[in-house]
Symmetry: C2
Subunit: 367 residues, 2 copies
C-alpha cells in the first residue's frame, strides 16, 4: 500500500496540504466499517461510502471522505436516522416525492435519481423531490448515475445559511449546489457540480489553517465587508461577487424554490447548521432531481454525435499559456484517473481523525 | 404624450443616455406596424411586439425595442421567415419538439411555453425543445407566461459565440441565457433572466459610445487579455470572471447541451453572427423550455405559503447602506411600474433609427 509524504497533484482541492495516498478500496473498507459501527444499515453504508469515495476520487475533497467523522457524529447524535424507511410516492405521470425518513441524503439521492430515471424512461422526463433528508455530500454524485445510464440529469439542493443575498450584509442562502450531468459515448459524462457561492466554506477553513490569503471578492467579515483574511470570514459572496452576485444569488434562489418551496422543507436560513452544535435534531432538508431521456427530444445517435462535436471543439480551443480548455468534469475525470493509480490523498488532520475512529470502533486503521 | 429630455431612472440599462419617454401603447403601435410592413404575419407581429415591449417595460433595454431595426433587417434579408408554419410534434408523455420554420424566436418561444404548459398540466412536467428558430429576445419573456398561469418554468438558449471558455483566449460560447420564473400569490412572479457572461454585449457597445470604462474582469481584447477599455473589447468573460468563470462556462455548456446537442441545431461557435453581415441565411437556433406544475410535488397552497415566506424573509434582510435586498425580478417589476407611469425611455440613437423606419414605411413616427 503506498504511503507517501508529498503534495497531492495540482488542481485538486488538497494541494498545499501534506498527505498520505491511500488506495480507494482501502478507504472504502474503512469508511463502510465506521458507518456500520456507528449504526447505519447496509443500504445507508453503501450509499454514503459510494458518494464520499466517488467525490474523493474525482478530487472533490470538500465533499469526500473528510466528511466521515461529521457523519458519524450526526448518526450518533440522532440527527440522522441510520435505518430509514424510504417512501416514494408517485404524484403525476412523471413526478414523485421521496420521503427520506431523516436518513442520509446520499441514500435518498441515489434512490431519487433512480426513481426519476424510471419515470424518464417511461415518459421522457422524470422529476423527484426529496423531503425529510439531510446533507447528501457532492451534488454531482446523483446526476452522474443517470448519465452513466444514458440520461441527462439536473440536481439541486439548499443548505444552511452561509452566503449573502445580493446587497445584503448577513448570510441568508446556503452554498446551494446545482449539478448537471450528460452522457457522452465512450467517455465519462459532462459533469457540472457547482456551489452558487464562488468558493466553498471548506476553502476558507483550509486557508485559515495555513494562514493563506483568500482571493478578492469571495468572502466577507461579520460586518458584511469583503475580506481576504480567512480568519475574519463569517460568510461568502454569491458567484459573481460584489458586481454580478445577483446572478449567483438568483441561482441560489432557484435552489430554494425547487428544494424548499416545492417540498415544504426548510429554506436555508431556517435550517439547523450542518456544523452543529445541535447534532440531535432532524434537519429536514429538501432536494430536487430532474432526469431527461435524450430520445424524448432527438434520436440518440444524433445526440451523441452532437456531444462529441461540442466537446472536441471545446477542448481544441486556444488556451492561456500553460493551461488547456476543458469541459465541465474533465478536471475531475483526469483526477480520478490519477487517484485510481496513486490512491486518494488524505491529509494529516483527516488521518488523525480516522485514527481516532479506528481506535474507538476497534477497526484496523487506514494505512 | 410625455416627451421629456432627461435621464431615465437609475438602475435601468438606459442610465446615462439621454432619452425620450414614450408610452408603451404608442411604442406597441409603432413596433407592430413596422414589423407588419416588413412582412411579418399577425402571429409573428404580436409575439415579437409582446416580447420587446415587455422587456423594455421591465427595464431589460438590451433585449427590448432597440432590437426592432435589427429584426426588420433580418426579415427583409430573408434570415427570418415572417410567415412560418410552426409544427409541434409530441415525442413522449411529457415532451415534444417545436419546429419554428425559421420564424421569429419570440413566436416559437411563446408557442413552446404554451405547449410545455399543456404537457405539464396533464403530466406534472412538460418540456419542449425548439428547432429552426432565431433570436428570441429576452429569455425571461417565456417562463413568465407559465408563471402567470401558475407554473414554474425554465428556459435556455444558446447564441452566437462571444464568450471565452474558461482558460480560453477566443470566444466559443454565446452569452447563453438561462431564465426561470416561479408564481407567487398576488404578486409578480420570481423572475431570473441571466446571461452566463457577466455583462451583455450591449453594455460594451453603450460604454464604447460614451467612452466609459468597463468594470474589471468582465471582458477581453482580441489577445484574450482582460480590458476595461470598451473600444478594445472583442469578447466577454463567463460569469465568475478569471477566478470562477468555470462556473459560468459550465452553465453556458448546459445551454449548449440542451439547445444544440438535444436538438441537432448549431452550437454557439457554429452559428452565424446575429449582427451579420449575413442577413439572408437561416440561423437554425435551438431553445429548450421546461415547465413544472407545483401540484406534481406539493399542495398548491403550501407552495404559495412557502414562496411568501421565502420572499418576505429575503426582502427583510439587512442591506448595504443605500441598497435593499431584492428577489430576482423585483428590480424589473419596480421598473415596470415606473415605466407604465412615465413611459419607456428611448435613447436618441434608437429614436433616430425609428424615425428612419417611419419614413421608409410611411408610418406615423413615434412621439
Amino acid at each position: 500500500m503506498p504511503s507517501q509524504n508529498q503534495k497531492s497533484t495540482p488542481g485538486s482541492e488538497q494541494d498545499s496540504l501534506p498527505c498520505q495516498f491511500i488506495p480507494s478500496t482501502e478507504i472504502q473498507r474503512f469508511v463502510s466499517a465506521c458507518l456500520a459501527k456507528a449504526g447505519a444499515d447496509t443500504a445507508s453504508v453503501d450509499a454514503v461510502t459510494r458518494s464520499l469515495v466517488g467525490a474523493s476520487l474525482r478530487g472533490v475533497d470538500s465533499h469526500g471522505i473528510r466528511l466521515l467523522p461529521h457523519y458519524v457524529k450526526a448518526l450518533r447524535g440522532g440527527r440522522i436516522n441510520g435505518a430509514p424507511q424510504l417512501k416514494f410516492s408517485r404524484r403525476s405521470g412523471c413526478s414523485g416525492c421521496l420521503d427520506a425518513d431523516d436518513g442520509f441524503g446520499h441514500l435518498a439521492g441515489y434512490r431519487a435519481i433512480e426513481e426519476a430515471t424510471t419515470l424518464a424512461q417511461e415518459n421522457g422526463l422524470g422529476a423527484v423531490s426529496v423531503i425529510n433528508s439531510s446533507h447528501f455530500g457532492a451534488a454531482g454524485s446523483y446526476p452522474l448515475v443517470a448519465a452513466e445510464a444514458g440520461y441527462l440529469a439536473l440536481c439541486f439542493s439548499n443548505s444552511d445559511k452561509l452566503v449573502l443575498p445580493f446587497s445584503g450584509l448577513l448570510p441568508f442562502h446556503g452554498t446551494n449546489p446545482i449539478s448537471f450531468a450528460a452522457p457522452v459515448a465512450n467517455q465519462h459524462p459532462y459533469l457540472l457540480d457547482m456551489a452558487t457561492s464562488s468558493i466553498p466554506l471548506n476553502r476558507v477553513l483550509q486557508y485559515r489553517a495555513i494562514s493563506r490569503p483568500l482571493p478578492e471578492d469571495v468572502a466577507v467579515n461579520d460586518a458584511g465587508e469583503t475580506t481576504i483574511d480567512a480568519a475574519q470570514v463569517s460568510a461568502l459572496l454569491p458567484v459573481g461577487g460584489q458586481g454580478y452576485g445577483y446572478k449567483g444569488a438568483a441561482l441560489a434562489g432557484l435552489c430554494e424554490i425547487l428544494c424548499a418551496a416545492l417540498t415544504g422543507m426548510g429554506f436555508s436560513h431556517q435550517l439547523l447548521a450542518m456544523a452543529g452544535p445541535d447534532y440531535s435534531s432532524r434537519r429536514h432538508l429538501g432536494h430536487f432531481f430532474l432526469v431527461i431521456k435524450p430520445e424524448a427530444f432527438i434520436e440518440r445517435d444524433i445526440y451523441f454525435q452532437q456531444m462529441d462535436l461540442y466537446l472536441a471543439d471545446l477542448r481544441a480551443q486556444v488556451a492561456e499559456s500553460g493551461a488547456k480548455v476543458m469541459a465541465a468534469g474533465d478536471r475531475e475525470w483526469a483526477e480520478q484517473e490519477r487517484r485510481r493509480a496513486t490512491g486518494i490523498p488524505v491529509d494529516h488532520a483527516v488521518m488523525a481523525e480516522f485514527a481516532d475512529l479506528a481506535r474507538e470502533f476497534e477497526l484496523q486503521p487506514l494505512n
